[in-house]
Amino acid sequence: MRVKTVLTVFRKEIKDAVRDKRSLFISVIFPVILFPMIFSVLDKNIQSVNSRVSEEIRIGFTGNGENVIEKFLEQQKGIILVKGKELEEKLKTGEIYALVRAENSGDRFLVNIAYDNSRQSSVTVFNSLAAMLDSLSQAHKRDGKPEENTFITVRSDTVYEKSRGDSMLIFSTLLPFLLFVFAALSTVALAADTGAGEKERNTIEPLLSNPVSRADILAGKFLSLILTGFTGTTAFASGIVLSTIITPGVFGFDNMAISVSPLSALLLFLVSVILIMFFSSAELSLSLFAKSPKEAQVLFLPLLMCCMSVGYGTSVIDPRNVTSFYRHIPLVNLSILIKELSLNIISPSMITVTFLWGTLYITLFLLLSAYLLSKESILYRN
């Protein structure tokens, strides 16, 4: 190997790459701008959720007689005790983060903290409460015999059986990200080929010289992308399901115990279709704009980066605490909806809003594609 030759080739490749301004912008400048933007928006949401959690932690409480635990919790900044009926139901629906049952037995307390082990925020609140009560217990510790004289004994109870709760938590965390990646990636190859590939191969001109409307051509291409996306997403999902069966340890539990209701499953299917249509229409318009499949793939990068950032960033969001503003942001709203449905949370108004926005974005991308397919300077640019 000759170093001189290697360096000559290296220099040429770098010069070539640097002169491709669009690729340079997308692969270097864009991520530097994009990621801080996306994560600052997500961080803002997480901060607002967290601040709400820390400012007003709604905790269900039941207890008997004069209750030190009740007074102690009421004194804690941010904790709002909720009493009354149907507290268990409120825990399941997310109205309260945890349910504390404090039984006074003479000079000791038996405290049971119930929490929703399918929600990260509820798990966090449980850990905080357990720590608080432990410190309270430590303060009352007497005579150096903690085991026998423990003032507070804390026990926990979960909404779901442990393996099921863990599974649901991991499932709801991973599903938006995985579905996003599957839907976006499965159409990339065909999308690059069906628009920019037609230009590069010079098949676009003979195709457009046929007596068919450009809308028909576009619709045919769009349908082929949807079918490809659907097939690819199904294959990806099948692979993941098989992995959870064959090697569940990889996902952090012994056996998968997800129970998605038939309605949630149907709605998840429809969300996947919307997601596939979203990426298909977006990639089709980018591909029609690009001169070549290579350029198309460069243009897809920001879209894929957005997809992955949103899929990853929203994985930590508790859908029960998200503000309505995020229901109007593309991809973010779909991610939150996927998360909700994976936890069997069905809110007709939120589903309608998300589907309407999804349909609007898809329509806009298709209109953009139709425009690009009619624009001489885009179709025949060199």
Partner: protein
């Protein structure tokens, strides 16, 4: 029939128009050749006639259909072979490429099969009709592209440099095919760089330079008018410059 009236096309950023106020009329059963150097405006004119580009001004009637007002009917009545790459789908066979365009024209499969068999016979395509186009030679691609362009049996045929890059035997086959089309009553307009091909095939020669038609007529009429051979006439009219 092709009737071009005052057609002009100016690309954005270009100093001069690619096509500058051209007018011509090609009758039924006539083969006319557009002759010009690279950059003379032949391909732009052909793309406008194919409805792929919109003119800045002027119009063109293909079998009485306006390219501006009725482009879909223009496409139905025109068989177009564009220059350069043949634009075939490499992963489809020659037959599938032809069938795809036939279907886009709304032709039933039986007719597509019959016409494909006819083209295959005339253009010697039998050996590669069922092969994928990815490995085709230039000649095989060109024959497939011609058959694909004419599968709907259009009355008007426009061919952009149909023999460019072909070997002698395939070029001859294509020339014979153009004559066959002309004798079948089609109006044929083709562009070429090749004077020999033009003289053997065209009833009329249209010489283009810098976007303009600088003269046109039967080869014999032009030779008589300028008292030169066609090649010298061409060099005389275009200033002998090669803009390619």
């Amino acid at each position: 029939m092709i009737r071009i009236e005052n057609l002009t096309k100016h690309y954005r950023g270009a100093e001069v128009p690619a096509v500058d106020n051209i007018s011509l009329h090609i009758r039924k059963g006539e083969a006319a050749a557009l002759l010009g150097e690279n950059g003379a405006g032949k391909t732009t004119a052909i793309r406008i006639l194919s409805t792929l580009l919109k003119p800045d001004s002027g119009d063109c009637l293909i079998n009485s259909f306006s390219i501006l007002k009725d482009p879909e009917n223009v496409r139905k009545n025109t068989g177009i072979l564009l220059g350069g790459e043949t634009g075939l789908y490499a992963r489809l066979t020659a037959g599938e490429n032809i069938e795809y365009f036939g279907r886009l024209h709304g032709i039933d499969i039986k007719t597509i099969k019959e016409r494909t068999a006819m083209f295959s016979r005339i253009l010697d395509m039998d050996k590669f009709l069922d092969r994928r186009c990815a490995t085709f030679s230039k000649g095989m691609k060109q024959k497939t592209a011609i058959a694909r362009s004419l599968i709907h049996d259009p009355p008007v045929i426009i061919l952009d440099e149909p023999t460019s890059g072909l070997d002698l035997s395939v070029s001859r086959k294509v020339r014979e095919f153009i004559l066959f089309l002309k004798n079948s009553g089609k109006s044929v307009l083709f562009s070429s760089h090749n004077m020999g091909e033009v003289l053997k095939t065209a009833d009329r020669i249209i010489i283009m330079h810098s976007g303009k038609i600088i003269d046109s007529g039967k080869p014999s009429e032009l030779e008589k008018k300028y008292s030169m051979e066609m090649e010298d006439i061409f060099h005389f009219l275009t200033g002998g410059r090669n803009e390619g």
